[in-house]
């Protein structure tokens, strides 16, 4: 059981953590893990991204999951977020594409235009 003050502290800490996390990490990769995404292989894509990052020894990337954004026909959907830049949303991802995104976008800083479906804020 937590009191209101504690909750407020947790919220502030969570907000700060998020800022810190964003500051420490060059990139945040968010994999859409809704029912449609998972059915289309989002778990495998997530694993491929984590493997590729581990294999290359990349330390400053945060990989996390989220729900569906709404573009069910383009699942699995992966967001690559770099602070101060528009969110790059990749669609129709698979294991090979996920590895390519890590190699091109995360390592070399080149957006893989062919897989981009949206560049929403």
């Amino acid at each position: 059981m937590k009191t209101l003050d504690e909750l407020r502290k947790i919220r502030e800490k969570a907000q700060q953590d998020m800022k810190l996390r964003d500051g420490d990490n060059r990139f945040k990769i968010v994999v859409g893990m809704g029912t449609s995404g998972i059915a289309m292989g989002a778990r495998e894509v997530m694993k491929a991204i984590l493997d590729e990052i581990a294999q290359r020894g990349i330390k400053d990337v945060l990989v996390t999951q989220t729900g569906e954004k709404g573009l069910s026909s383009m699942e699995p959907v992966v967001d690559v977020i770099e602070s101060g830049k528009p969110v790059i949303t990749y669609g129709n991802m698979d294991i090979a594409k996920a590895k390519k995104v890590v190699a091109e976008h995360i390592v070399n800083g080149r957006v893989v235009n062919d897989y981009v479906v949206s560049t929403d804020k």
Binding site: T64, G67, D79, D114, S118
Partner: protein, 521 residues
Amino acid sequence: MKFYRSHILIGIDDTSLAAGVKEFEALLLSELEKNKLADEINILETGTLGLFGTGVSMTVFPDQVTYVNLKIEDIPEIVAEHFLKGRPVSRLALKAPLKKHYDFNYKNRIVLENSGKINPEDINDYLAAGGYEAWEKALLNMKPEQIVNEVKASGLRGRGGAGFPTGLKWSFTAPIQAPQKLFVINADEGEPGTFKDRLIMEGDPHKLLEGVMISSYAVGATKAYIYIRGEYKLCITRLEIAIKDAYEYGLLGKNIFESGFDLDIFIKIGAGAYVCGEETALIESMEGNRGNPRSKPPFPGVEGAWKLPTVVNNVETIANVPGIITKGAEWFTGYGPDGCSGTKVYTIMGDVNLPGLCEVDMGTSLRTIIDEFGGGIIEGHQFKAALVGGAAGVFLPLERLDVNMDYNSLREYAAVLGSGAVLVMDERTDIVEMLYSVIRFFRHESCGKCSPCANGNEMLYQLISKIRKGEGTQEDLDNMVVIADTMFHTSFCALGQSLVMPVKSALEHFRADFLKRLKIK
């Protein structure tokens, strides 16, 4: 530098190489030379075109036509038609042009503002996004009556289908003095083609929980149930995690934030009966009985589950509540037209390029929803009809494509917003077959309690089957309307009452489809 009037980009990757792209390229070049076009049209090799499993593919600029699954036999036709005469060969062109800048419309989202952004399994993510501020404000700074009034002023209406004003519904139960009141979330999303509640629950479960907390407090319920359909396994898992975390953080339980208010939330898993989306049948099912609707009155708000005052609301409705509390009723009425404020989540499917889901202002036109968010009708085809509001909805023809999607505008066409499902059909769809599948669904789901629905559905099924077989008559068509009308006037619950909408609208706007099938024309 040479000037070319057109450039062809051929995608070279593993799949296209396996499909013989090199040979195709050589033959394409010789065909261009044969037609003396090689000086005007340039062939370039590029990496993958971003397509998937499309064999030999190429994009022609400046026309921006992408051809897929090309064969060597297609070369003469493409060169003759497209490069000599300037007419793209639509037979071979990509049906769904990739839209690079799909707009998810996050700036205008309310219930799905966090879905697709935060981690639904981490309460801290929700807190960091400003979560549970509304709960704090409601519980500590507002009286229950104030919350009810705020929601009334916001003009929020039920998103489950009927569009009943939410604040008004609450105001029936809130003043009742009872030892125990209940708040129930109807998450038994059974309407065919609807999956909006699933996305809310699996994308942002805490949003729903926060809404439940505020609403329960407003009506004075200390126990809340989420009645969720059993197939939504991911939603159930995520809601369970969310509820556990909320207890841990003291957002639920006894004497929350020392306010003296207790609240427990339970999950009740449904067994997949369509009729259990009807609130009294849902209550019966919650009690452990067969899911049959009850007589009204007494209304559930006065005497519901276990004879206790019970408020039943839809997931999407309640997911709007935290925003109304934090930002106020006036902010909420800024969305959508008068009398139908807020946003609406639509699920778009059928013959569109980008099936999926969108949240837009109430009153957005059907055309915008289909074109902007559904990516438009599949290329080379025309819009024929849209079944709006799920199976218990209305077939809207082309003339109604500009209708504004809100409760009042749709009522002018005897249509309903329903659950927000938009099923788009192009000219290849036979409305007889569509109506057959709708009627078959209702026949299967009728609970059998009342005669008009149980027998009416069977009679409609027999008639439509007869028409499908080519044995129907004009009289059968007239009888279908009479039966549907009778069901509307005499059925016990909404299940039997709503079939009149698809039947009448199909026969009114697409009679030609039916006449074609009749024995005597």
